[in-house]
Amino acid sequence: MEQNNSLPPFQGLASPQGALTPVMPMFSPMMPYGSGLTPQPVTNTNSLSLLEEQQRQQQQHGMPGGSGQTPQLYHSQTVTTTTLPGNTPLYNTTPLTPMTPITPATPASESSGIVPQLQNIVSTVNLGCKLDLKTIALRARNAEYNPKRFAAVIMRIREPRTTALIFSSGKMVCTGAKSEEQSRLAARKYARVVQKLGFPAKFLDFKIQNMVGSCDVKFPIRLEGLVLTHQQFSSYEPELFPGLIYRMIKPRIVLLIFVSGKVVLTGAKVRGEIYEAFENIYPILKGFRKTT
């Protein structure tokens, strides 16, 4: 955030482009001319989407004279940048474009401001060699192996608190991590354990198979209304399960929606799908808010 504090000296003085030259804008998540970003609620903490937004803005405003679209606040700044010669249009042509909303969607209302928290990540990796589960179970710590019950060693580590199922084919399933990086780290730790036990373990095809997130919309929801209008997506059987099961098609995500307003999202392969699904469902849920 300190970049924003250093912005006021930039404005109106030297060209922002000149100040930018040491720093490639592609790699800084906060553009210096992004002081326009601060007044707005930044909902996406994912730096990747900000990068895409900036690239999109640069493509949109190829002409430096795009002043007609720019809002009033930085009026003086527009003038200074357009008069400066030798500016590479690569960096920024109109620094005022950040005033356009960051999130491209939801024309009617702004985004919800609620970010689903990831609760569980399931990933698989291939260790690339056949394993002898009995030796692993006997020599490793925190490993349980009951071949009559299940044909895999169940190993647990404490650091990213996770559980792994290690099969004799060399494939492994890692569950319980709270982020993608933690899942990868935990899988590497398990692979290291197996390696230390003497097997030629590799780390092939690490893939995240499922991500589960949850959040709270903070108001009660009328599930009966929701199941009436969204019949083809929803299934609400209070005898079977107290929550409504909403199978969204566009990001293929299953949401469990409860009367209290808590929502669980699952079935995602990437984090963005969870966020996208929640942004899709939030206006629908707002429409079924309980009024009493």
Binding site: P220, E224, V227, L228, Q231, S235, Y236, E237, P238, E239, L240, P242, F258, V259, S260, K290, T292
Partner: protein
């Protein structure tokens, strides 16, 4: 010789009245005639009599019904095959070689539909146990046939599909049965019936209405032997409780059970939570939980014309 009273579009000679070619001929089965209704002309005669071959009186010992026609066909469900079955012989001359084996057993009558017929039998048995009327059984059979022909749930046990079809049919007819009630007459677990239920709805692309508390009132109350007044009061209480959103997220069965408990405790016919739980298929702690939620507003929930045997403030606090 086929009777073509309806003028069907097969390549059969159409009988029609020479004077009134458009008139629909009336069949007089007793005389074996086909009569034109406009002019009374007997157009076709010697129509095959479809009545029984002989008359059987109830006085005579009816051990042997010599009818050679057999049961009515069910073409809608069977696929209408006309097979001949050889039943076991009764006389001595039924080829008892070595005394044991009789003449060849009845062949596989309709191998493809054998499973379906079995399922229909199972459905009828299940429905009989809870006294379901013929229309629900027919609807269940139709649903099963659709699911069976679709083959999307082929791997599932037929009994599970049949139980789920029974559940859906009851729902569609407006008289839903709880999953537990269907479980009671089926060998399949509630979990499996629930799974098949969701799969069938997806396969047939239908949906069912949401259950309400009122759907179960008459059945539960009459099983408990409660008078009509109490039943009406319980229905009113449950509906009011859901309208006032006193029981968010609770299953309608639990709310209905709690309403019955409150209504019965306020009347002369008091029932315990255990008894109601037994009939409704809910645990008595569940009734207790829902009852605790509706108890504070008890005074608002009763219908205005209810005659209290126990006044509202003396209702048990459990």
């Amino acid at each position: 010789m086929a009777s073509t009273s309806r003028g069907d579009v097969l390549a059969l000679p159409k009988v029609q009245c020479p004077n009134h070619p458009d008139a629909m001929l009336v069949e007089d089965y007793r005389a074996g005639d086909m009569i034109c209704p406009e002019c009374g002309l007997v157009v076709g005669d010697r129509v095959i009599d479809v009545g029984s071959e002989w008359r059987t009186f109830t006085n005579e010992k009816a051990t042997k019904d010599p009818s050679r026609v057999g049961d009515a066909q069910n073409p809608l469900l069977n696929g209408g095959d006309l097979t001949t079955m050889i039943s076991k012989g009764t006389g001595a001359a039924s080829f008892d070689e070595f005394g044991n084996s009789k003449y060849q057993n009845r062949r596989t009558m309709s191998s493809s539909d054998r499973a379906m017929l079995n399922a229909f039998k199972e459905i009828t048995t299940m429905a009989d146990r809870i006294n379901l009327p013929r229309n629900i059984i027919d609807r269940t059979n139709n649903l099963f046939k659709q699911v069976y022909e679709q083959k999307s749930l082929k791997g599932r046990a037929n009994d599970a599909i049949a139980s789920a079809c029974l559940y859906i049919a009851c729902r569609q007819e407006g008289v839903p049965r709880t999953f537990k009630e269907i479980c009671a007459v089926s060998r399949i677990s509630k979990k499996e019936i629930g799974r098949c239920f969701k799969l069938i709805l997806k396969a047939l692309e239908t949906s069912v209405d949401l259950i309400t508390t009122g759907d179960f009132m008459s059945r539960f109350c009459s099983n408990l032997g409660l008078p009509k007044q109490v039943q009406m009061a319980a229905t009113y209480i449950a509906r009011k409780a859901v309208e006032l959103d006193l029981v968010p997220g609770r299953s309608p069965i639990s709310v209905a059970a709690a309403a019955i408990y409150m209504a019965s405790q306020a009347s002369a016919e008091k029932k315990t939570q255990k008894e109601i739980g037994d009939i409704a298929g809910v645990a008595d702690v569940t009734i207790r939980q829902s009852y605790r939620l509706i108890y504070p507003r008890a005074a608002d929930l009763f219908p205005p014309d209810f005659k209290f045997d126990t006044p509202v403030d003396k209702l048990p606090l459990l």
